[in-house]
Amino acid sequence: MTPRRTLMLLVLSTLGAGAVVLAQSRTRVDRHPSPPSFSGNVVVALCDGETTAEIPGVKEGETPTPAQARDVADRLMAAWREKNPSARWEESVRLAAAEQVGGTVQGEAGGLPAGPQGAVQEGHTYGAFSERDQRIWAAETDKFVQEGRRVFHDSKALGSTIAVSCDMCHPDGANTHPETYPKFQVQLGRVALLRDMINWCIQNPTRGKPLVDDDPRLKALEAYILAQRKGTPLEYGKH
């Protein structure tokens, strides 16, 4: 997944001396004693254990107002960013992407990229994926299509009783024109979907039993047939 650092929480302690900073880990709490303030103001420390900021006018033991708390948090964040200019905070990534011209970084062909991650997509959770994610998804999809290819070429897997498989008439899925469905299938006298024709072929030229709608073989066959027509415009109803 995306190397994303959990947003650190700044918790202002209302008890004790100064602030307690919670780091990423919820199981282990690191405490960094903050240096005392000459003015007696509350000092808040960042989780890096180095950066500190005072809350002006708030003495030890007093509670800052929400506005004062936000102000000190913003100052600490700004100081941290200045020290870590290449860190991938969501906002900074978004700004960088807006400046960048061009698309995603292409990884090397074959296999997952060994080096650092490719370009991270901008946006919300669904849009936040990397080149590596895309490769995994493509591999999963291809596995599904390959299963369809297997069934398409295997008369036994189809359930043919006369040893006929789809590829015998449709090499590479040719002449299946899935992009034309749904269409009025004249020979059936009704509108048919691609799966209706798959089942028709299973029942007739291959003399098998039709597959139920959620049969994984039917889904895989559809995937394979559609995959063979990548780039062909959809033209439902075409004869």
């Binding site: 006369i162 040893a163 590829d167 015998m168 008439c169 090499p171 040719a174 072929c201 007739n204």
Partner: protein
């Protein structure tokens, strides 16, 4: 009405009278031979307007020369054992009926290869039995589906050598074995059945590409040495003997070398199987005609289709026989070959030598209005 100007009706009756007068001058044999060709068949169905009468005249003229002859073909039957699959058995039986009912009978029948689906003894034996029912003499050609289970052993035991030649009425016929493949199975430790099933998959990219191979080419060279270049030559080959579409092995790897061997002949016609479709091509002085399958039609390949091919439109899957068929070839008195595609449940199509020789300018077969996909 002024003299010399005839009404449409008068001209029609004149043409009609001339046609029937022409019929009386023809021998019965001559007429029926023509009826076996597309014009006659189409006319019998009432599908051709009177201008096709000129074909009758052509046949009449042909009778003055050396008598032409026809031969028929059955190809790509892909038989499984009969108890497993009767669909393909019905189809080959239909083709046997067709060639037996040709009148006049063809001089001989060519079997174009792929008699069996997986090269099994039982499949080849079944085909052998069925083909005994063919009345005219039969010449056998081997296909890759017959070969790659036992590398042709049982096929040769039934039908003899896979390469041979013969002469018939002044035409030299050669049958070559063009579906050799370089060894892809040994390093993969394939069983004979795995090897056979790999080759049987048209879109299986593991296999090698078809070739006549060095030994086959040498045999061909030697066979043709003694033949005069003016002798009409007809070559039977299972693969197309040219390069159409590599991924489906609609392809012969050493096609250029083979064509070079055939190049010195003035009239060469190649009749090939494997492609299961109406397919026409001409390279140099070599005409190519694909044979129809009885079992199923292949779609046209996504690229590489020869320009001279007038496509058959896509087959109706609801009709087992649509897009399939058999055919015959008329060899004219000057040694040219006109190929008749007897498409079952469709009008027949004739692809004439004159169409190919003219680069498509003359005698073009009717073009379908429907997409072929």
């Amino acid at each position: 009405m002024a003299k010399g100007i005839k009404s449409i009706e008068t001209r029609h009756y004149d043409e009609r009278d001339a046609f029937f007068a022409g019929l009386r001058r023809m021998s019965r044999r001559g007429f029926l031979r023509l009826a076996g060709a597309s014009a006659g068949l189409a006319m019998a169905k009432g599908l051709v307007p009177p201008h096709s009468f000129q074909l009758i005249e052509m046949a009449g003229a042909a009778e003055t020369g050396k008598p032409p002859f026809t031969f028929a073909y059955i190809s790509d039957t892909h038989l499984y054992p009969g108890r497993l699959n009767d669909r393909f058995v019905r189809a080959i039986l239909k083709a046997v009926d067709d060639v037996n009912n040709l009148d006049p009978p063809p001089d001989f029948v060519l079997f174009g290869g792929d008699l069996a689906q997986l090269g099994q003894r039982e499949e080849l034996d079944l085909g052998h039995e069925i083909l005994k029912g063919v009345k005219p003499p039969i010449h056998m050609m081997v296909g890759e589906h017959d070969w790659f289970f036992d590398m042709g052993e049982h096929w040769r035991a039934l039908f003899g050598p896979e390469q041979y030649s013969f002469d018939h009425k002044g035409v030299h016929f050669v049958t070559i074995m063009s579906v050799q493949e370089k060894d892809f199975w040994t390093e993969r430790h394939m069983t004979p059945m795995e090897r056979m099933q790999t080759v049987a998959g048209l879109d299986n990219g593991v296999q090698s590409r078809f070739e006549v191979g060095p030994a086959g080419r040498e045999w061909l060279q030697k066979d043709l040495e003694k033949v005069d270049p003016s002798t009409p030559l007809v070559v039977f080959s299972h693969s197309p003997l040219y390069k159409y579409y590599r991924p489906w092995n609609f392809w012969t790897e050493d096609a250029d070398e083979v064509q070079a061997i055939l190049g010195r002949f003035q009239r060469v016609t190649v009749l090939h199987g494997h492609t299961h479709q109406l397919l026409s091509n001409r390279i140099g002085n070599i005409d190519f005609h694909g044979m129809l399958s009885t079992a199923w039609p292949w779609p046209y390949a996504p690229e590489g289709l020869p320009k001279l091919t007038i496509q058959q439109n896509r087959a109706d899957p609801f009709d087992q026989f649509d897009g399939c068929g058999d055919g015959s070839v008329e060899v004219t008195e000057n040694g040219l070959a006109n190929a008749l595609y007897n498409l079952w449940d469709r009008n027949p199509v004739t692809v004439r030598a004159s169409y190919l020789a003219s680069g498509g300018a003359n005698d073009a077969p009717a073009r379908t209005k429907l997409p072929s996909y």
